[in-house]
Each structure stands twice: as C-alpha cells, then as structure tokens.
C-alpha cells in the first residue's frame, strides 16, 4: 500500500532490493513526467489511492444488501448502474454491471475469454488466475471440472451458465445466501461474502467468515 507522498517517492524496500527492468522504466517515466510538469506527485498519489481503494469488500456490501433488502435486489437485477449509484458506486467508462443471481437451479460463473474484463469497481483488480489462458479457455469448455478444482461441486440438476464478458458490461455473481444467516445484519452478511463467490468460482458457507481474507 502507498499511503502518502513520502512513501510514493521513497518506497520502503530492502536495502539490497534491485528493481526489475520494468520497475526502473516506470520510475523513470514517472520522474520524467513530474520533472516536465505533466503530472504532479499529488495527482499520482490520488490515482494510486483510488485504485488501491477498490477491493472485494465493495462487492460484498452490494451482495449483503441484495440479500437483506428484496426491493434493492429487484433493482440491482433490473438496473445495475442505477442500484449501484444508490450506494455511491460509479462505473466510470463501463456501460453497466449486470448482476447474475445464483439459485437452486442455475450456477453462474464469469470469465473474459478475450482478455481480462472484470467488475473492477466492485472487486478491484482481477486475480492472476482469472487472467490466465488456462482459466479462460477451460471454463467455457469444461466448467464443472474447473469449478471442482476450485472446490465447487455443482449438482447435476443445476445448470452451469458461464458468462463471457466480451463487451463493456461487467458481471457480478449474486451468490446463494447460506442457510443459518437469517438473523444476521447486513454488515455481518458482508463479512461472509468472498471474492470468488462473486465470480462464481466459490460458494459461501457460514464458516467462510473465519477464513475470508
């Protein structure tokens, strides 16, 4: 994490750490743009913090609200952009984030077979495996086997629906609310929601709260 301008300009690194070729290029480019007055370190810090602030806890709050508030759930299923705006979440250049509801009869899992499209405003940057060719090519062909490798066993009578993000629309999976959570508050529910459950490669159990990162 880069928290202030001092850390931005003077990173806390081991004394014997040598930057890689690309790390050196990035530092040179930033310094050059700052020296020429194209950007300031304050602006750079602002963008970095904006990016660092995006993480799966935002999506988890959306899921918890959808579980807790049936009217909100209807709104997010029919108008993602509008419902997210209610929570102060803006999509910038994205056209929309569509919510896919997992039920007893259908399990959604999201991929971008062409590159790495991902609901960044809700989950932050995608994990490495999501961008890997292995995941992208296999999940559209043998989704049940891929899900099994993630520890998700989808019953034979449940349809697996793989959703490929090929356009400027991103997808959020609304996982099935686990039983035994009826009395939980929205904040407690949000603690249960994992990143993978919002991609479709994970399920939620009441015990997952202890292991959620």
């Amino acid at each position: 994490m880069i928290n202030d301008e001092h850390e931005l300009l003077h990173p806390h690194l081991d004394d014997d750490y040598e930057e890689t070729y690309y790390e050196k290029r990035i530092i040179a480019l930033c310094n050059l743009l700052m020296d020429k007055g194209v950007i300031t370190s304050g602006e750079l810090l602002e963008v970095l913090q904006e990016n660092q602030a995006l993480n799966p806890s935002i999506g988890a709050k959306v899921v918890a609200r959808a579980w807790n508030d049936p009217d909100f759930k209807q709104r997010i299923l029919s108008d993602g952009k509008g419902a997210l705006a209610e929570m102060g979440i803006t999509l910038k250049r994205l056209d929309d984030i569509v919510t896919l509801e997992n039920t007893d009869s259908v399990h959604h899992v999201v991929v971008c077979t062409l590159c790495s499209c991902y609901p960044i405003p809700l989950l932050g940057p995608p994990p490495e495996w999501y961008k890997s060719e292995v995941y992208r090519s296999r999940v559209v062909k043998e989704p049940r086997q891929v899900l099994r490798e993630f520890g998700v066993e989808v019953p034979a009578d449940v349809e697996v629906r793989v959703v490929d993000s090929t356009a400027e629309i991103r997808y959020l999976v609304l996982p099935v609310r686990p039983s035994g959570t009826e009395s939980m508050s929205e904040e407690e529910l949000a603690e249960l929601v994992t990143r993978d459950s919002m991609i479709g490669t994970g399920l939620i159990s009441v015990h997952s709260a202890a292991t959620a990162d």
């Binding site: 077979t113 049940r144 349809e159």
Partner: protein, 158 residues
C-alpha cells in the same frame, strides 16, 4: 438503432474473420444460440479501434449457447450453457432446421413442376445452340461452390 432481435429469438453468429479489434470470440463464430439479454445500443469495438468515434452504436445482446452445440465432444451434462455478449452486426436469424430428415417427395408437393421447367429450358437452349451441357454443368458446380462458400465469406482487410 432499434434492436432487431427479441429475447428468446434464435440466432446464428457469422463465421467471418474481419480485421481490427473485434470482441466476438472464435469459439462461438458460426454457432447457433438464443438471445437471452438485450443490452441496448453500445459502441462498436471494431469502429472504435480504428478511432472512428462517430460510427454510432450497435445493439448488443447476451446470446446463450448450449455447450453441446459448441464443441465436437459430447459434454457430460447437457444443460450447461455459455452466454456471450455479441453485437448485432455479427448475428443473423437462425431459421430452425427441418427435423424431418426423410427426403421431400417433390412429385407430391408439386415441386417437380419447376424441375420439369428447368429440364425443358435446358434442353431447349442446348438444342438452339445457346449453351452446351458441359457449360451448364460447370455453371452448376460454380454455383454450388459459391453457395457453400457464403458460410465463410472472406472480408477485405483494408
């Protein structure tokens, strides 16, 4: 541009290989699916990739494909699907194929009327020396080749 297709309509993705940045994955090109979502008009990525920001928007749809129709192997579970967002200019209506595989009795359906007209016309033009049988056969073969070729048109790379 109003959307041309409705949810539930059967469509086929064009099998084409245009240049530029396109967002239609290869694994669904030439495949048949069903419209399951209508996202409204969205900027066309191919035009945008050429810097053409005034190209106008094209309706975008979520198209659902049965896994069983996408790959040669038989999947274990027949219910599974892939949903892919596809721009309207990549789609054509998919008219359901005849499930009855018995050959049509052309005589019974009155279709032999045209067969006979064609045969008569061919014979007459041949007799009058306007064409010969070999020429006619060559033209038929060319047409047949073109008909099969339209499934996979070559698009000019500008």
């Amino acid at each position: 541009m109003a959307p041309k297709y409705e949810i539930g309509q059967r469509v086929k993705v064009l099998m084409q290989v245009p240049g530029g940045t396109i967002r239609t994955p290869f694994f669904v090109r030439g495949k048949k699916g069903v419209i399951v979502a209508s996202h409204g008009p969205v900027g066309n990525p191919r035009e945008l990739s050429y810097g053409n920001r005034n190209a106008g928007k094209v309706p975008l749809y979520g198209v659902s494909f049965h896994m069983a129709h996408l790959y040669d192997e038989d999947p274990d579970i027949l219910t599974d699907r892939v949903v892919v967002d596809i721009w309207e200019d990549w789609l054509v209506p998919n008219i359901p194929e005849r499930t009855d595989t018995r050959p049509i009795d052309r005589e019974e359906h009155g279709l032999s009327y045209y067969d006979r007209r064609i045969a008569a016309l061919g014979n007459l033009l041949n007799a009058k020396g306007f064409m010969n049988i070999d020429e006619s056969r060559r033209l038929v073969a060319e047409l047949d080749y073109e008909r099969r070729g339209t499934e996979h048109p070559m698009v000019n790379h500008e």
